[in-house]
């Protein structure tokens, strides 16, 4: 049985991905951190297309909404429509606090919606919560590879 978790972070801002890596390192996350900078790359990764033919299947996707090429909601829709991907929990992680974004995300099957905190301390503690909950408390679906 595999012991390392696979996390996919989808965010168009490399600085944000780096910050998430920092935060996860601080809270002793032991799994792999994969990243994609736009919606199309995220789907290529998930569907193992092109350069991602041997990509691992993520246990959790941290998905930003405002993305180039295909936005977060479009990635979410594609995932939930795909029988192989629809079990993967998706955490929407966005700066948007618009009610319509939140509502739409849940409607399309997001597992939770988290507002990206603006402040470093809050950001780190939020990442810690995500790590503890999803990789600690939660029993994730079997990988089925």
């Amino acid at each position: 049985m595999k012991s390392t978790h696979e996390l996919l972070i989808v965010d168009d801002n490399p600085a944000d991905i780096a910050l998430a890596r920092e935060a996860l390192t601080v809270c002793a996350y032991r799994g792999q951190i994969n990243s994609a900078v736009d919606g199309a790359e995220a789907l290529a990764f998930l569907l193992r297309r092109g350069n991602y033919a041997s990509a691992p299947k993520p246990d959790l996707v941290l998905l930003d909404l405002n993305l180039p090429k295909r936005d977060g909601l479009s990635v979410l829709t594609a995932m939930k429509a795909n029988p192989d991907l629809r079990r993967i929990p998706v955490v929407i992680f966005s700066t948007s606090q618009l009610l319509q974004d939140i509502d739409r995300s849940y409607e399309l099957g997001a597992n939770c919606y988290i507002s990206k905190p603006g402040n470093l301390t809050d950001f780190f503690s939020m990442m810690r919560s995500i790590e503890e909950f999803w990789f600690g408390s939660v029993t994730l679906p079997p990988r089925g590879e």
Binding site: N13, A15, L19, E22, T95, G118, N119, L120
Partner: protein, 401 residues
């Protein structure tokens, strides 16, 4: 006389004793002698008349196009046409040219009817001495009318321009503050990360500099949040409901409970009315005013009293405190966005609260202002329109509206 009409002769030299005003006329008249008398009456009184004399619609239209007159003088009855028909032509052409009926005996009823239909005035042919004055008045009125019209058009254009530029500005503030948040979040996060990771590992100056950068970025984040909140006031399509201001104040007291406890504030309010507005926005007005009353307190614990009374078609609310007050010269500035009277170290804040209050109150057609005794506390007053049900149940029950 041909259908193109004859041309009115210039005034003779002996009549030019007073300053002459040139006047382009269009005479609708079949009788050449009468036309000459009309011209003579005007020339005698300081006009220098030039223009066509016509007697049917075709010639009238042609002359109108060739040299538009300043005034039309029309006989009531013509062999093949009627003077009042000329008025219809002017109307149809969209021309604002005064038309004066110059006619033989015209019954009072007919005369009144003609004026009702839009003739400027009427002069009897055996009373032509009156004509110059009537013409002068008609020209003066037309001039005033065009001035007024231009002023109205200017005003409407300015209002439209202002509304557009306000909307642009609001859109700009919204987009700017929204899009600025992302990069700023990075600056704030990474300077903070630098501060935490490298404190004491570089030199003393480095720690200080990173600290300044980090604080600056965080303060700007708050400013941008405030600006966003401010620009949202105008964007929000709030649902208007009837809101009990007593309940709103209960909520505000809850929200501010920690600062109320800390300062020992005493808050009085009772029998506040209900208003027709967006709940969050009304709560925001009360909360900002209460928050200020507590923040800018004097040495004594704050005593705050919220009252309302009906004044005409609106409610006049007042929020009175016993705080440090506001010097009269700042009474208007305090409502300007980001305007502050105190150093941040004295009283924290970004100067957004009252600007938001003003924007909300004005959105509902009200006004907000402050009355202050300088050092003996401040009273903020604002108005909100009555709900239509309050307006009818009050002083004017008989209207039943």
């Amino acid at each position: 006389m041909t259908s193109t009409g004859s041309h009115v002769a210039k005034a003779s030299a002996d009549e030019q004793t007073t300053p002459r005003t040139s006047l382009r006329t269009l005479l609708v008249e079949d009788n050449a002698l009468d036309a000459a008398l009309v011209v003579r009456a005007l020339n005698k009184d300081g006009f220098e008349v030039a223009g066509d004399v016509v007697q049917d619609e075709k010639a009238f239209r042609r002359s109108l196009r060739a040299s538009p007159p300043e005034i039309v003088l029309a006989d009531y009855n013509l062999p093949t046409w009627k003077g009042m028909e000329a008025l219809k032509v002017l109307r149809a052409e969209g021309l604002d040219i005064p038309l004066i009926l110059v006619s033989g005996a015209l019954g009072d009823v007919t005369a009144v009817e003609c004026i009702r239909q839009g003739a400027t005035d009427y002069v009897l042919k055996d009373g032509l001495a009156r004509l110059p004055e009537v013409v002068r008045r008609a020209l003066r009125e037309k001039h005033e009318r065009s001035l007024r019209l231009r002023a109205e058009q200017d005003l409407a254009a300015k209002a439209e321009e202002l509304a557009r530029s306000n909307a642009d500005l609001e859109q700009f503030a919204y987009v700017a503050s929204h899009d600025l948040q992302e990069p700023l979040r990075m600056v704030a996060a990474y300077t903070q990360l630098l501060a935490e990771r490298y404190r004491g590992k570089l030199d003393e100056n480095a720690d200080k500099f990173i600290g300044y950068a980090s604080e600056g970025a965080q303060r700007m984040q708050v400013l941008i949040q405030d600006l966003l909140a401010f620009s949202r006031v105008g964007r929000k399509e709030g649902t208007l409901v009837s809101i009990d201001c007593n309940a709103v104040m209960d909520g505000v007291r809850q929200t501010l409970s920690s600062s109320i406890q800390e300062s020992g504030a005493v808050i009085h309010y009772a029998n506040l009315p209900s208003v027709w507005a967006d709940r969050t926005q009304v709560a925001q007005v009360f909360q900002n005013l209460m928050g200020n009353a507590i923040k800018f307190r004097g040495k004594e614990p704050p005593v705050i009293s919220v009252q309302a009374q009906k004044e005409g078609q609106q409610w006049l609310f007042s929020v009175a405190d016993n705080g440090i007050g506001i010097a009269p010269e700042y009474a208007e500035n305090i409502f300007v966005v980001f305007h502050r009277l105190h150093a941040r170290t004295e009283y924290p804040g970004n100067g957004i609260g009252l600007a938001i209050c003003k924007k909300i109150v004005e959105r509902y057609g009200g006004k907000i202002w402050v009355e202050s005794l300088g050092c003996g506390g401040s009273t903020f007053k604002f108005t909100m329109p009555l709900r239509s049900s309050d307006a009818s149940s009050g002083t004017r029950e008989e209207t039943g509206q």
